[in-house]
């Protein structure tokens, strides 16, 4: 909830002296927020690791995961980190056209990933794994669902950024705003690498 608020807050440059650490307030705030997010996913991942083998009814994790499919969607999400870097680099060169282009592509890649997740959830549900089926089901959907919501929030922020950039309504240091959203985006990608490894690749 707080993320876009932090990303867009620019109360700093005016009224205050230069920052004591040299890092801008916004960037430090974003790093603090991401530090806090580590514990959020830490809690969810721990819950999943505790419960993944506990299947009182419904499918087992090893039977249900379609690893090739999820590998492709993971690859797409990782590629979006590359396009995000290109967007940040364009923003730093004050190249508005390319910034918007790369931001849009990043959002589209993210949307593809979320679409893949929706497809995957639907397929799992058809195979009999509901949110309430078993401890494995509850903890799997909670963990990957939280990640999916984070990607979706990221997409909203990217699209908002493109819209605001087109109308020249980004207050403050534009390149830094893009970079902050980028930090969030990379963080969400890194979390996915951990989730993909622990949930899908390591058999329970």
């Amino acid at each position: 909830m707080a993320e876009s608020a932090i990303a867009h807050d620019h109360g700093v440059s005016h009224g205050a002296h230069a920052s004591s650490t040299g890092l801008s307030n916004n960037k430090m705030g974003m790093w603090m927020f991401l530090g806090s997010e580590c514990l959020l996913f830490g809690g969810l991942i721990s819950t999943y690791m505790l419960y993944r083998g506990r299947v009182s009814s419904g499918p087992q994790p090893n039977n249900i995961f379609d690893i090739p499919f999820t590998s492709v969607s993971s690859f797409i999400l990782l590629m979006s980190s590359l396009t995000m870097v290109l967007a940040v680099s364009s923003a730093q060169r004050k190249d508005d056209r390319n910034t918007n282009l790369w931001l849009t592509i990043t959002a589209l890649l993210g949307a593809t990933f979320v679409g893949g997740q929706v497809y995957e959830f639907t397929a799992f549900y058809r195979e009999g794994l509901g949110f309430t089926t078993s401890l494995f089901g509850s903890s799997f959907y909670a963990l990957t669902g939280f990640h999916g919501v984070h990607v979706s929030v990221g997409i909203i922020m990217l699209m908002a950024l493109v819209g605001m950039n087109r109308n020249n309504r980004i207050p403050g240091d534009k390149a830094e705003v893009v970079e902050l959203i980028g930090l969030y985006w990379h963080f969400v990608d890194i979390i996915w690498i951990i989730i993909f490894t622990l949930v899908y690749l390591i058999p329970s």
Binding site: A16, S20, L40, T132, L135
Partner: protein
């Protein structure tokens, strides 16, 4: 005369007429709110001092609500076969008492002091994210109101403040109380998280030139440690609360033992948050009395770096002791041994602090003003609570004490005798700075002594009751089973209940003191430095002006203000006053900064915060309402993002002199 640049009718206070002021319409959806002297100004304010006062007032109201709940509990237990509450109401009462006191009083009251005094202590004009600061306050207020609205909507939560699952599932707690509890704490959690990010960045990034970390006042240090604890503890409780919400509202199986769930999952998640939480509650008070004791001992704090670092050590070790709340749950001998030892270890940095406070007083010129009394009260009462805490670290003894009144005695000594006494020391110490008048010392002394006597009468007998085996959450006792002689349940319960009313009179005297000081105007007008204090917040007006300092001071020492007033003879180490406080300030303010941009007011924080309880009610009653709440969140976030924190220069009309750097100049003060 200082000049503030702002697109506002700020001058309403000064009584002049604003000239050429144009609130921003170019960006954002709403017209930017202009300043006014009415209540509206409090709704849209982003000023850290106003928000600090609002935190304080709201937290104090919740303190009174939680206090009434406590009195009802004690009334129920004053006599055998109590009829004041039935078992169900009793469960709700102790759950909501604890929740209110922890989440809606001590935490936000510490936030009140942190908000108000951290920027002043580090020589900043505001916090790093003023609008997020306002958002945090409104989240806390609306979250607290949401939580308490459960009283009128089917009853409060009834699972105890740690709400152990599966006892908190819909089977055992069918009312909506627990739903209000999980969602309400989720909303106040957002307040804590945003507040933590805001204050950490403020402290690390906005210190006055020369204010190194090891020159920061101890209160600021303790706030920094507390905010780091919050930053990492809040997301863990967030996960636990989400799991419980999913369990209760969407039939997830996380705590469903029939499907193989582990009941310890909730306990671990809760206490990984819950143990850092107790340091979140106590460290700000440690910070407050570390300011008070040196001032009233006329000595610098003994071992400043040790006090700062032992605070940080408590912050680290605080993460490794959570399972001592679970010794009776069958963790196994290795876990119990490890957590037992780490719990004994954390007593060391706490003991170090106590030694430092005593050594600060040792050989000092003590004045027993009310803030000092409360500070000494903390040192003594907290030490008693700390010693009973060490007995909990011994696992076999803890197994005997678990869920008895002995635990209740322990945590009230550390939380009431510790945290609350520290907050009261803060009230009396900083009151003249915040409101420009001195609270009455004579009423204050009555306030203090009634609170000390009351709390020892209330919580002292609980040690005996607990060791005799009175269970923590027993709602009624009978004469037949009360026992005889010195260890008679009835006798000690009666003493405890009478004590709680003495304690309440003490707190009532504080409210009377405020009325006496302000309504009856009996309190003396406060000078800028009434206590001859040592830190920066006293180097400005009482109450401080909106931009805090006309000039941001250059910091050369720990206790900068003291060093500007006093000089030490290097040969004899004797200290002589060379300047009065007013002289120091006059010298500092001889050339005030001319172009001070203060952050502009905004509607968005309160609107965004207001949409969160809408989601909460929607989740409980109607999913359509929830969708409305989510839409409100998205809309308000967009509005927020479009609005610059400080109005852009275009919103300031150029001054008549034609100077393009200085925009609208509003005379102030």
């Amino acid at each position: 005369m200082t000049i503030i640049e702002r697109p506002s009718t700020e001058v309403a206070i000064a009584g002049a007429v604003p000239v050429g002021v144009k609130p921003s319409e170019a960006l954002g959806v709403f017209k930017r709110p202009a300043a006014s002297s009415s209540w509206r100004d409090w709704v849209v304010t982003v000023d850290h001092k106003k928000l600090g006062i609002m935190y304080g007032v709201a937290a104090f109201v919740f303190f009174l609500i939680g206090g009434v709940e406590a009195l009802l509990i004690r009334l129920q237990l004053i006599a055998p076969d109590g009829k004041v509450l039935n078992a169900d109401q009793y469960n709700q009462m102790f759950t909501m008492h604890a929740t209110t006191m922890v989440f809606l009083f001590v935490m936000p009251m510490a936030a009140a002091f942190a908000n108000y005094f951290v920027p002043l202590q580090i020589g900043a004009r505001d916090v790093a994210f003023p609008r997020i600061n306002a958002f945090g306050f409104w989240c806390f207020l609306f979250g607290g109101l949401f939580l308490n609205s459960s009283w009128f909507l089917g009853g409060g939560a009834d699972g105890g403040w740690f709400m152990y699952a599966p006892n908190s599932s819909t089977l055992f707690s069918p009312s909506h109380g627990v739903d209000f509890w999980t969602l309400g704490l989720q909303i106040t959690g957002i307040a804590s998280l945003t507040g933590a990010i805001n204050l950490i960045v403020t402290i690390l990034n906005m210190r006055a030139p020369g204010m190194k970390m090891m020159r920061m006042p101890i209160f600021t240090w303790m706030v920094l440690v507390t905010q780091f604890l919050l930053l990492f503890a809040i997301p863990v409780i967030t996960v636990a609360l989400f799991l419980l919400t999913f369990q209760r509202s969407f039939d997830a199986t996380f705590f469903d033992v029939a499907s193989g769930a582990d009941p310890l999952l909730w306990q671990h998640l809760f206490w990984i948050f819950g143990h850092p939480e107790v340091y979140i509650l106590i460290l700000p008070s440690f910070g407050i009395i570390s300011e008070v004791i040196p001032v009233f001992s006329k000595k610098p704090l003994f071992g400043y770096p040790v006090v700062a670092m032992s605070g940080a050590a408590i912050g680290f070790v605080g993460w490794g002791v959570w399972a001592h709340h679970m010794f009776a749950s069958g963790l196994g001998p290795v876990s119990v041994t490890v957590f037992s030892m780490s719990t004994m270890a954390i007593a060391v940095p706490t003991g170090v602090k106590i030694v430092n406070w005593i050594m600060t007083m040792w050989g000092g010129k003590l004045t027993f003003a009310v803030p000092m009394l409360f500070a000494i009260g903390l040192v003594t009462q907290f030490t008693i609570g700390g010693l009973s805490g060490v007995t909990h670290a011994v696992a076999p003894s803890d197994t005997q004490q678990t869920d008895t009144y002995y635990i209740v005695a322990h945590f009230h000594y550390v939380l009431f005798g510790g945290a609350v006494f520290g907050l009261f020391a803060g009230f009396y110490y900083w009151w003249p700075k915040m409101f420009g008048r001195q609270l009455s010392e004579s009423i204050g002394k009555w306030n203090f002594w009634l609170m000390v006597i009351g709390m020892n009468m209330t919580f002292g007998p609980m040690h005996i009751l607990g060791l005799q085996g009175q269970p923590r959450r027993m709602f009624v006792w009978t004469e037949a089973r009360a026992g005889e002689g010195l260890f008679n349940f009835g006798f000690w319960n009666r003493i405890s209940s009478i004590g709680s009313f003495i304690l309440s009179i003490g707190i009532l005297l504080f409210i009377i003191n405020i009325f006496y000081t302000h309504k009856m105007k009996k309190g003396a007008l406060a000078s800028n430095d009434p206590w001859d204090a040592r830190t920066l917040e006293w180097m400005t007006d009482s109450p401080p002006k909106e931009h805090n300092f006309d000039v941001i001071p250059q910091i050369n020492h720990l206790d900068e203000f003291f060093h500007r007033k006093y000089e030490q003879d290097s040969a004899t180490h004797s200290v002589t006053q060379v300047h009065s406080a007013d002289e120091v300030m006059a010298e500092l303010n001889a050339h005030p900064d001319e172009h001070i941009h203060m952050p502009s007011r905004s509607y968005w924080p309160i609107l965004l915060a207001l949409s969160l309880p809408v989601i909460g009610y929607g989740l409980i009653y109607n999913r359509m309402l929830m969708a409305v709440g989510v839409a409100m969140v998205l809309l308000t976030m967009f509005g927020w993002a479009m609005e610059p924190a400080t109005s852009p220069d275009e919103d300031f009309d150029p001054p008549e002199s034609g100077d393009t750097h200085a925009k609208e100049l509003v005379p102030h003060g």
